[in-house]
């Protein structure tokens, strides 16, 4: 009965590789997000999608490409991984159009380590 799930939980890879992180929500929500938490625990939004449409794209390098095949899934593909991409990536979802009064529900996070 997991609400927001992410795979994989841990990802260790070499610099220059391409990797994907998957996110799925079974809450019936329309809007999904990706956040990055750095080594100092600072959380920052990366993207949000509403019903497969990109809403927020916060100055993220174009090596990062979100893909939303349907409103229940928002995957994050990262090309040419760099050391600075090492972080915990959290997926989240909210019910409707991502209005500013909606509560976001977070997934368990994917810990990415780039060597």
């Amino acid at each position: 009965d997991t609400a927001v799930s992410q795979t994989p939980k841990y990802l260790v890879t070499q610099m220059g590789n391409d990797k994907s992180i998957k996110c799925e929500q079974n809450l019936g929500h329309d809007t999904m997000y990706w956040y990055k938490q750095d080594s100092k625990k600072f959380l920052k939004i990366m993207f949000s999608y509403n019903n497969k449409e990109l809403i927020i794209n916060e100055t993220v390098p174009n090596r990062f490409s979100p893909k939303s095949p349907d409103k229940a899934h928002l995957n994050l593909h990262i090309n040419s991984l760099e050391l600075g991409d090492s972080a915990v990536y959290f997926c989240a979802s909210s019910p409707l159009r991502g209005g500013y009064q909606e509560t976001q529900y977070f997934g368990p996070g994917t810990r990415l380590l780039v060597l």
Partner: protein, 115 residues
């Protein structure tokens, strides 16, 4: 620039002590305020939120927060902490002016409760 500040980066308390964690934001207009908690190795969970109405909001696990508009503050309180409250606490804000539901997080406060 928009910002959310949590002035206490690390707090250490003994069980049964009272807790107050500070949160200030730096912009006007309509805001919505949230406190999230991240237990060790876990995902972010919503503790409480303020949208409108009574500025004193009660959340889960005995936590409460007070919105003081004149001080741009939303401090988190708990009268008596337990060892199980050891976690990272994040204050976050959304604004009506945002195109999407973009949570802006503070830097987090790490709380350690000694048994």
């Amino acid at each position: 620039a928009q910002s959310v500040s949590q002035h206490n980066h690390h707090v250490i308390l003994s069980e049964a002590a009272s807790l107050e964690l500070g949160c200030n934001y730096s912009y006007g207009g309509t805001v919505n305020l949230f406190w999230y908690v991240q237990y060790p190795g876990q995902h972010l969970q919503l503790l409480l939120k303020y949208f409108s109405g009574d500025p004193l909001v009660k959340g889960i696990k005995g936590f409460e927060a007070e919105f003081i508009k004149s001080k741009f503050s939303f401090n988190l309180r708990k009268p008596s902490v337990q060892w199980s409250d050891t976690a990272e606490y994040f204050c976050a804000v959304t604004r009506s002016q945002n195109a999407g539901n973009m949570l802006t997080f503070g830097g987090g406060t790490r709380l350690m409760v000694k048994p």
